[in-house]
């Protein structure tokens, strides 16, 4: 009996398909059978394509056939068709593949499971973050290497030398400032790009390339999946988030891989708000270096904001909670050539993007200073800066932050070096600037990917939100009499 019913159902599917095929008159680039199958599976894009290409009454007939076929089955047609295809596949594979899988779990497989299991996986994650990010990027890249390039190369050699040359050839003070002034193209723009950002980004990309090449990231995605589901995202979203630590702009583009619109919007907000990019992260790690409690508080607050905003936006944004499906590639030992090529191409890409921006920023500041706009903006920014209990010099860093997050963080670096921050202020500044506006490139990407309205709304929200958090953190510090 059962057998026979299956046959009948099969015929209905096949007959419907044949009928649809005979009604399709246009050329679709792929076979009519494939178009018919997609229609039966409820593909909206193909349905509207067919509607636009076929005569109205033909399309109505096709719709009728699809509806009728659907009514014959309990399960969705997509499921039945997929099942049938899998049966055919299994038949072919059983004839072609001879498998003698080893019964014992290999070392890789064991290691892989350890990484995914929450109890063992979280300590491994913390170890990777501590040694890969904090020690290698924060202490080595942003600390030792930056110090060396800043002090030994720029401050001792390049800056005085360049200043002398420009003093000699450009007698006009105003014009000279463009190149070697306080915010000059060479003394600030190029110094930030080469002495600060380049070593930080390079060390970060090295660490990232190694982690990436081992195949750890998809395992991290599985590990974090549970947490992410609570805030309306799937573990699949880990990849844009982790990529965001490299560059949020690039990561915003990668949110396209997320299946639902809701996930894409939540991920875009989180990337713009709570995920610092590599250069920013490196500078912040080096700012907080030696202030261990401060580092924890910074990490805690940013993490909390991430969860809170993620959770709230998943409540507000309509849509189904997503389900998670991902390929897990094998773990393997990172290849030196891969790591090198990846680091090289990323650094090159990043640097060519950041370098003109930094020079442009110096130019704009110069124009702004001449027209008085710069000082006026700094004056306005000094209000929220003061409310957060920060020294007014920090206003300049936040103004830099409008251009790029890493530029802003680099501004803080100079202020700390001048000894203008105490421990509390440093943490407040770091938290606020981490949450602060997406850089211009990321803003443009948000607009491109999510539309102008959403893009602008995200930025306005973040502007107010980041200052509010800075204000609140400072208030709490004062109430609890915390001195870092």
């Amino acid at each position: 009996m059962h057998e026979e019913r299956c046959n009948i159902s099969y015929d209905i599917l096949e007959i419907s398909l044949e009928k649809i095929e005979s009604l399709l008159g246009s050329d679709y680039g792929i076979s009519k059978r494939a178009i018919g199958l997609l229609l039966l599976q409820g593909d909206d894009d193909i349905a509207s394509l067919v509607r636009s290409k076929e005569a109205v009454d033909f399309y109505a007939k096709i719709e009728g056939i699809v509806k009728e076929a659907r009514a014959h089955y309990h399960e969705p047609l997509a499921y039945i068709i997929a099942l049938r295809r899998q049966e055919e596949t299994n038949r072919i594979v059983s004839g072609a593949v001879e498998a003698s899988p080893k019964t014992k779990l290999s070392f890789r497989e064991k290691l892989s499971r350890i990484m995914i299991n929450p109890i063992t996986g979280l300590p491994i994650l913390l170890l990777i973050l501590y040694y890969g990010l904090y020690k290698f990027v924060g202490r080595f890249g942003a600390g030792i290497v930056v110090d060396f390039i800043e002090k030994n190369i720029f401050e001792k050699n390049i800056n005085p030398w360049i200043t002398r040359i420009f003093s000699a050839i450009i007698p006009v003070h105003m014009l000279r400032d463009l190149f070697v002034g306080e915010y000059g193209v060479i003394t600030l723009g190029i110094r930030y790009a080469v002495a600060l950002i380049l070593p930080i980004v390079t060390t970060f990309f090295i660490a990232f390339a190694i982690i990436e090449d081992t195949g750890y990231l998809p395992r991290l995605a599985l590990l974090i999946d549970r947490l992410f589901k609570k805030i309306g995202l799937t573990g699949r979203a880990v990849i844009p988030m982790v990529l965001g630590l490299g560059c949020d702009t690039m990561a915003t583009m990668v949110t396209r891989t997320l299946p639902t619109k809701r996930e894409r919007i939540i991920a875009t907000i989180l990337l713009a708000l709570a995920i610092p990019c590599s250069a920013q992260l490196g500078v912040i790690l080096s700012l907080l270096e030696g202030n261990f409690h401060g580092l924890w508080i910074w990490g805690g607050i940013v993490g909390l904001v991430f969860l809170l905003i993620g959770f709230l936006s998943s409540m507000i944004l309509p849509g189904d909670a997503p389900s998670f499906y991902m390929e897990i590639p094998p773990l393997r030992f990172p290849k030196l050539s891969n790591v090198f090529v990846k680091t090289y191409t990323r650094v090159q890409w990043y640097f060519t993007e950041v370098f003109p921006m930094f020079i442009l920023a110096s130019l704009l500041i110069w124009v702004g200073q001449l027209s008085g706009l710069f000082n006026a903006s700094v004056k306005i920014l000094e209000y929220p800066i003061r409310w957060m209990g920060l020294p007014k010099e920090a206003a300049v860093a936040f103004l830099f932050g409008f251009f790029r997050r890493d530029y802003g963080a680099a501004g803080l670096y100079d202020i700390k070096k001048a000894g203008l921050f105490n421990g509390n202020q440093l943490v407040v500044a770091c938290v606020t600037l981490t949450l602060f506006l997406p850089c211009i490139a990321q803003f443009l990407m948000n607009v491109k990917e999510r539309g102008a309205k959403t893009g602008v709304a995200i930025s306005v929200f973040i502007l107010f939100f980041s200052f509010s958090v800075g204000f609140a953190v400072n208030l709490i510090f004062n109430l609890l009499k915390v001195h870092l």
Binding site: A34, D45, E88, I92, V97, K102, L217, P218, M253, N338
Partner: protein, 165 residues
Amino acid sequence: MRKITIVGSPNVGKSLLFNRLTGAYVTVSNYPGTTVEVSRGKTRIGAEEFEVIDTPGMYSLLPISEEERVARDMLIDEKPSVVIHIIDAKNVERMLPLTLQLIEAGLPVVLVLNIMDEAERIGMKIDLRHLERELRVPVVATVSTTGRGIDILKGKVEEYARRKM
């Protein structure tokens, strides 16, 4: 110029194969979903120059995510002369349904079983002739990280493209 389109699920080596064929560099990662934009390059196979198109990962002709939609649109709009469906040899069972769909769609498919070394390491033996007979399309085994099988693939593509002229 005639076109070769590379399709397959995420993380089976599409971008690496693209790099092997064109000599260009596309970011290659050991995790799924890195290719969001479509990359294009050129390759010379035999006497003919082809345009090679790398697509975002797809699991099925019925798209779920935007990247899958992009990949499918490429197949429909570009009218490629050869569609290279690249799969992970270890997971042939899970990936062959897309091959069937591509063949069903009337596309000129060449099936590539990639990551063959890892499949062999876990003790799988795959009869390529048998697959070719069943599917009636060319089947090639490759290891795109080392370049094994790439020349054979080029040969098959050349032969196939000549027949489809």
